[in-house]
């Protein structure tokens, strides 16, 4: 198969390297010598999938175990799909070129709702029946994980097992159970029996073991386990000790220029700033840091094994890492002589962060990005984004004084309680920052690049497990009106205004908060040709609307409806640690324009993570551990 694909297919597609494998540090294991063979399936293109740290961690962690083998597959671009279909070839895994269907289990990562149709398409290209009841014991087991798996209900028809939470521990327990089962049954699945065995593993959710009943108005009446073994409430898994946690030091180095073409090092997990729109902030609690010493050692090892010339310190909010300043200074000093740069993916709007930016960007001083998220103080209090107007002014002043000329500001539009005044606030802020830049340039006799501001405005999508889950999304029409209103307020060549298509975020909102009835919509949309829905060149709203109509469902019910606190939500049987009562309380505080401080500042708002999961905030402090376990 490999030879045929190489000779007759790869020369006919754009970017053949997406489908060839054989990168540096790839792991090829002997098929016969392992007890369990799996594929990590990423439902988007190679360049996106290979930029995903989760894939790298789980791929290498799994392959370091003697008994398991894990290969990779990505969603083929339309040209490759056409070639595979014309030549009647199945989707294959990159390491061995074996058909995906030959593996024991296929795990899809759910990073984005708009990649769901790609999952269906990849199953179809593999020759695997889409719905679980159409699959036999000869077909691979289909499992999912990742942030969207916390509400995987729209995929309930298509998956066997959902993994809730961070995979480092639960995945290995899961694989162990799978391998035992295969060993017991001479390499064959007895899926009915298997699923019953899996129920005992904490963090594994089997959607078919739960019945959903609905009220006449379409809301959920009850979620009931239909097996006595299935727990009423499923709790997420997490890793308490981030230091000494598994981290791949020899990650795959793609030949292609992937989205994040650099060495990535996770410095901590979790963020408790408590932005009320942010799903990751709720899902990945509590904050757990790695020690500086371990991070420095890992950084050097990864760079040694990959040869990358850029190191990115990743996390939800890297400038919050307690030892960030000494860590950065140390790394920059060590790596500068090797011509390796260090980058920070996200910066807070404050002088401290700007100081960090100065440390890392000694050389390439071009553009700087901040995310105030909303245009007025009132709305920033609603969303609990702890940034004041003075913070932003100060940072702008410092940035321009220190030689930056381009500033990027990220905002959201369509936020709860938003008025035209808040939207006008975005434009005002942009003009104010520009004026600050102009004033500083004038003081210096108008030397250097004139300041430039870019404002990027995304449409707000309410996500489950956030205080804003109770909110409806504004209609597409209203969103477009607000986008145009902001457009009308910006009339300056040095302010660039970017905004996103509202139609995609509408379908995203539906699936983010969707229930399992959407399975039919997903199936219908895929049959009509929907795929790569996150890509504007593929997205087709009409196909989606037809699919909703044929399934007898109203997308507005899911996207636009505001939800009652008492309502049973499709994800109410999933416990992420953060309690629903906390989310309700936070929602009420949002409407009252009251902020909630970060628990790392010493005030515990009892979100439930430390109480219900017995989890601990784990801060290492600037002194590499002496200050650890500061209690919230």
């Amino acid at each position: 198969m490999r030879e045929y694909i190489e000779q007759h297919i790869l020369n006919k597609v754009e970017k053949p390297l997406r489908y060839l494998g054989d990168e540096l540090n790839v792991v090829k294991k002997d098929w016969e010598s392992v007890k369990l063979r799996m594929v990590f399936a990423f439902p988007d293109v190679y360049e996106i999938g290979m930029s995903h740290l989760g894939l790298s961690i789980l791929y290498h962690l799994t392959n370091e175990q003697t008994d398991y083998l894990m290969e990779r597959v990505f969603a083929p671009w339309s040209d490759m799909e056409e070639q595979l279909r014309t030549h009647h070839l199945p989707l294959y895994a990159l390491e061995s070129f074996r058909p995906v269907k030959d593996f024991d289990a296929v795990g899809f990562t759910l990073q984005y709702e708009m990649s769901y149709t790609n999952i269906l398409n990849m199953l179809d290209l593999s020759g695997i029946p889409l719905r679980y009841w159409e699959r036999s014991d000869d077909d691979p087991l289909i499992f999912v994980g990742g942030p969207c798996a916390y509400n995987a209900e729209p995929l309930a028809d298509f998956v066997d097992v959902v993994i809730l939470g961070e995979g480092e521990e639960v995945n290995l327990e899961f694989y162990h159970a799978l391998a035992e089962h295969l060993a017991k049954h001479e390499g064959c699945w007895h899926k009915d029996e298997l699923l019953k065995e899996l129920v005992t593993i904490k963090g594994l959710y089997i959607p078919r073991f739960y019945d959903m009943t609905y009220h006449d108005d379409g809301t959920i009446a009850a979620i009931t386990p239909n097996r006595k073994e299935a727990p009423k409430v499923l709790t997420k898994r997490y890793l308490q000790q981030m230091d000494h946690a598994y981290f791949p030091l020899k990650p795959i180095v793609p030949y292609l220029d992937v989205v994040h073409d650099r060495a990535m090092l996770e410095v901590q997990r979790g963020c408790t700033r408590g932005c009320r729109f942010c799903q990751a902030g709720m899902l990945y609690r509590p904050v757990r840091e790695k020690t500086q010493m371990e991070l420095t050692q890992q950084a050097l090892a990864i760079l040694q094994h990959t040869g990358h010339n850029d190191l990115s310190l990743t996390s939800l909010s890297t400038s919050d890492y307690t030892g960030i300043e000494p860590l950065l200074k140390n790394l920059v000093a060590t790596l500068a002589e090797k011509n390796i740069s260090v980058s920070l993916p996200s910066l807070r709007v404050d002088n401290f962060s700007l100081g960090l930016a100065k440390v890392v960007q000694e050389v390439k001083r071009t553009s700087l990005t901040f995310a105030p998220e909303a245009g007025t103080q009132r709305l920033r209090d609603v969303i609990n984004k702890g940034v004041s107007e003075e913070d932003l002014e100060q940072v702008a002043k410092m940035a321009f004084t220190n030689g930056w000329s381009k500033l990027k500001l990220y905002f959201m539009i369509g936020l709860p309680t938003e008025t035209d005044e808040d939207i006008a606030g975005i434009a005002k802020l942009a003009y104010k920052v520009l004026a600050i830049g102009d004033a500083i340039r004038k003081e210096r006799g108008n030397k250097g690049q004139p300041p430039q501001i870019t404002i990027s405005v995304a449409g707000f999508v309410p996500k489950p497990f956030t205080p804003f889950q109770f909110e409806g999304q504004v209609t597409g029409e209203e969103l477009r009106r607000r986008q145009q209103y902001l457009r009308s307020l910006i009339n300056n060549k040095r302010i660039t205004y970017n905004y996103h298509d509202s139609q995609v975020s509408f379908i995203e909102a539906v699936f983010a908060k969707g229930d399992r009835r959407l399975g039919n919509v997903l199936y219908g949309a895929w049959q009509k040709g929907c795929k790569f829905d996150g890509w504007s060149e593929f997205f087709d709203l009409d196909w989606w609307l037809e699919a909703f109509e044929e399934a007898g469902l109203d997308p507005c019910f899911y996207a636009h409806r505001s939800i009652d606190y008492e309502e049973t939500l499709p994800w109410d049987h999933i416990h992420i640690g953060v309690r629903k009562s906390y989310l309700i309380n936070e929602h009420q505080k949002a409407l009252a324009e009251t902020v909630t401080p970060d628990c790392r500042q010493g005030y515990c708002s009892i979100c439930g993570v430390c109480q219900d999961l017995a989890a601990k905030v784990d801060l290492k402090g600037g002194d590499d551990g002496a200050n650890q376990n500061k209690i919230c």
Binding site: E6, Q7, H8, L10, N11, K15, P16, L17, L20, D22, E23, L24, V26, V253, Y255, L256, D257, D261, L303, Q304, H305, T306, G307, H308, N309, K338, N339, V363, K364
Partner: protein
């Protein structure tokens, strides 16, 4: 500063690397091997690496060249060992030699390339027919192919006949196997698929699909002879 000239192969796994992919792969390999690579001065330091004639995407090769500059001397056996250990599956080290600052740049000296090409024809032809085609081909003074003009969407005709120095052909089932020596480098460049087009213009049956193209080597033409770019070392 020490200059090193490297001969390497682009393997089957590496044939789809673009020139940019190739440069990244080399820089990373050298970094991994811990060799003291030299960088340009300035705000955006670049590694001092330069390549010989660029290779089309999809073509494998057994004779590519690259020059790199090191900040200090490294014993050659050790250098080869370290590079070999650190190259990705796409690339294979064949040889390395120290050159002097005075050695002419690869781009300036390389002017010949030898290719092997395998193409599937719509019909099989006999050896005699093939021999006739070749002699017809050599008899032409002008064999024009269309090429894009620089920075333009328009094409112009280019006579490739003077830039083809050797051409042999044989049939293997319905596959045509060609071996050719053509001009390359700054003085002009002939692509192997253009030679196939040239053969079609004198009567070769339609080519169904070009299956593989392999560059056997790059050379310098000198006094009716071909020498390796290492000879100038």
């Amino acid at each position: 500063m020490v200059q090193i000239r490297i001969k390497y192969a682009k393997t089957n796994a590496g044939r789809f690397l673009s020139h940019l992919d190739l440069m990244r792969a080399w820089e990373r390999s050298i970094r991994r091997s811990g060799l003291p690579l030299a960088f340009s001065q300035g705000f955006n330091p670049h590694p001092k690496i330069s390549f010989g004639s660029a290779l089309s995407v999809g073509v494998t090769s057994n004779g590519e060249y690259m020059d790199m500059e090191l900040t200090e001397a490294v014993e050659l056996t050790q250098l080869k060992e370290r590079l070999t250990q650190n190259l990705p599956p796409a690339l294979m080290l064949l040889d390395a030699q120290e050159i002097t600052q005075k050695t002419e740049a690869l781009m300036a000296v390389i002017d010949r390339a030898r290719y092997q090409l395998s193409a599937q024809l719509t019909e099989t032809i006999s050896e005699t027919h093939l021999a006739q085609l070749l002699s017809d081909f050599w008899a032409q003074d002008v064999i024009n192919v269309l090429r894009f003009k620089k920075n333009s969407r328009n094409k112009r005709e280019v006579n490739i006949r003077p830039s083809i120095f050797a051409l042999t052909a044989k049939m293997d089932g319905d596959c045509l196997q060609l071996e050719m020596l053509v001009q390359t480098g700054s003085t002009g460049n002939v692509r192997p698929d253009e030679v196939v087009l040239g053969l079609m213009s004198v009567g070769l049956p339609i080519v169904n699909e070009i299956m593989t193209i392999h560059r056997e080597g790059l050379y310098v033409a000198k006094d009716n002879d071909l020498v390796s770019p290492f000879v100038f070392c």
